[in-house]
Amino acid sequence: MRLLLVEDNVALADELLLGLQRQGYAVDWLADGRDAAVQGACEPYDLVILDLGLPGRPGLEVLQEWRSAGLSFPVLILTARSSWSERIEGLRAGADDYLTKPFHPEELYLRVQGLLRRAHGQDNRSQLEVGGLRLDEGRQTVWHAGEEISLTGAEFRLLRYFMLHPQQLLSKTRLSEHLYESDGEPDSNVIEVLVNHLRRKLGRDVVETRRGQGYRFVGCPA
């Protein structure tokens, strides 16, 4: 999952970057509203965390521009402005959730997970459950047939992306675009190796290979 964090306070951004990366997200960080407007429109982000009081351009304006350009990634507003009238304004501008500073980092992670699940049609569930697998995002492990299987950070990221896009054909390029930061895209072999690791842990059929096209997550038969 690739996230864009737009926050002008460097200290906070540093901590959030670390925390979100520990949660297994690839995160790009921008501090200026003008940069955010451009980059948000051209990179395939899965979610954006947006501060409202940005230098360059106000966050609400950037958000409105994205929405009128038809960009539908979930946006979580992170701001110190906590009044309900501002909340209403933010959500009307097209945000999906609103978190006010100061916040418990834990809560931010939960909201991000929730928004991602919701954006992929997995509402009303506290954990990601697809194709006989249940992903524990807190512990970064997966449960299969009553058994907890541990995952490495990279495996966890890939499996989460697969589970959020079940039965969809995903090209290697798309996978690496969504799993790594813009400056750290690895070559496509890494994806291949990770898929093989997942197959070893969860069974051969968990991911289907389509030659020349990419991968499809099928899940484990119960």
Binding site: L18, K101, P102, E107, R118
Partner: protein
């Protein structure tokens, strides 16, 4: 309450009444005076005519009946005379059985002398010498028909005066109403200001009202700007303090601190305290207090947006319904009331299973706002606790348990009380009564 228009009307009526009465009585009196003077001349002439009618006859002096005016022959005609010479008295036939008294002094007798019937007589006496004999001629004329005519004229004039007064008062009322129209318009606008249906007064056409309206408008703008400025300043202060707090919280999550769990816990508690205090004080400071015109809470406009927002934040919610009388406007600051309703509804949404209900009922002179959910509710024993200062029951739920504390602070500033009870839906029912 005093009305300027009524006061002016009463004043004018009194002035008209006094002057009208004086004018009518004065003019009647003057005419009466002139007429009496005229009558005196007439009576003198009549006396002289009578003197001429006294002729020398075969048996001394005699009265020549031929030379007397016909009115002296008709009984009780109103014109009378008597001529006294020594012991003999000639009386006109018209006197009939009435004894016309002779004034003691020659000249006009003062006032009216009683006459036959109801007649009022003006009496004039003159002394002459005729053919060597002393004659005293007394003539009298009935004044009563003229008195009656004067009374009639007076009534007529009074009637006309009253009519004129009515017309003048009506015209004055019209003029005043025209003159007061801009004032009335301004009054209506001030009323609309109070009801929150307008944000400014329209500039009046009249020079007299211009400074007043300009001053009110300037005051409105000034107050609004000051509130906006202080809210912005508070927002900035909040921003300046909250972001570092967020950084501190994130720092506490560093794995390096995993080995010092009690330090982490201690710092977390202090941060919670700071944050709690900050949020409440900022909220209290930003309360508008007196509601500004144009910033009233329009239920039809605000509630759909608020509920839409809550639905978005709580996607698990199946039903968020509100029952509010159509077109209801509450005379409370929009942002403050949004804060109260937002926090209460947000709280209810967090705890609810599927349904949350907002109800605003209009009571005489007040509204009752009720928020209910179908969640687990709060046992009666704990409700008290929930309301006592600083206790938070929703600490464990995602989000910080500031909602109720902030709501209570705001309601306290409005003189309203938060009541907790059991909802028909099964969960907690929170309600309060706002005077309107």
């Amino acid at each position: 309450m005093n009305s300027i228009q009524r006061r002016l009307g009463v004043g004018l009526a009194l002035v008209l009444l006094v002057f009208g009465t004086l004018m009518i009585n004065g003019s009647v009196w003057l005419i009466d005076l002139g007429l009496r003077r005229h009558m005196q001349n007439e009576l003198r002439d009549a006396a002289e005519m009578l003197l001429i009618a006294v002729v020398r006859g075969p048996n001394g002096l005699a009265l020549d009946e031929q030379r007397l005016a016909p009115a002296y022959h008709r009984p009780l005609s109103g014109s009378y005379f008597r001529i006294d010479r020594d012991e003999r008295i000639w009386r006109s036939r018209s006197v009939w059985d009435f004894d016309l008294p002779q004034p003691e002094e020659p000249g006009m007798a003062s006032g009216f002398q009683p006459g036959p019937g109801e007649q009022q007589l003006l009496v004039y006496r003159a002394n002459f010498q005729r053919f060597g004999e002393a004659l005293s001629v007394t003539v009298a004329q009935d004044y009563r028909p003229l008195s009656l005519a004067f009374a009639q004229v007076r009534w007529l004039l009074s009637g006309l005066g009253v009519l004129a007064m009515a017309i003048v008062l009506f015209l004055q009322w019209l003029t005043l109403r025209r003159a007061f129209e801009p004032l009335e318009r301004t009054r209506q606008q001030v009323l609309q200001l109070q009801q929150g249906r307008r944000a400014r007064l329209d500039a009046p056409v009249d020079r007299e009202l211009e400074p007043l309206v300009a001053q009110i408008n300037a005051l409105l703008i000034h107050t609004q700007e000051r509130l906006l400025r202080s809210r912005n300043a508070l927002g900035n202060l909040g921003h300046a303090l909250k972001t570092p707090l967020a950084v501190l919280r994130s720092l506490l999550d560093r794995p390096e601190l995993d080995t010092l769990p009690e330090w982490r816990q201690g710092m977390r508690e202090q941060l919670d305290g700071i944050e709690h205090r900050l949020a409440r004080e900022l909220n209290r400071a930003r309360l508008a207090g007196e509601v500004l015109p144009g910033a009233h809470f329009d239920c039809d406009r605000e509630l759909p947006a608020l509920c839409e927002t809550l639905q978005k934040v709580h996607p698990q919610l199946a039903e968020l319904s509100w029952q509010v009388p159509a077109g209801l406007r509450l005379p409370y600051d929009r942002e403050d009331l949004l804060e109260v309703l937002g926090n209460l509804l947000d709280n209810a949404c967090k705890w609810s299973r599927q349904r949350v209900q907002l109800r605003i009922e209009a009571l005489p002179g007040a509204v009752r706002v009720t928020v209910e959910d179908d969640g687990p509710g709060v046992p009666e024993a704990q409700r008290e606790q929930l309301l006592t200062r600083g206790v938070r029951l929703d600490e464990q739920v995602a989000g910080h348990g500031l909602g109720l504390a902030i709501v209570r602070d705001t309601l306290q500033a409005w003189g309203a009380d938060l009541q907790l009870g059991e909802s028909k839906l099964g969960g907690l029912q929170v309600s309060f009564r706002l005077p309107v």
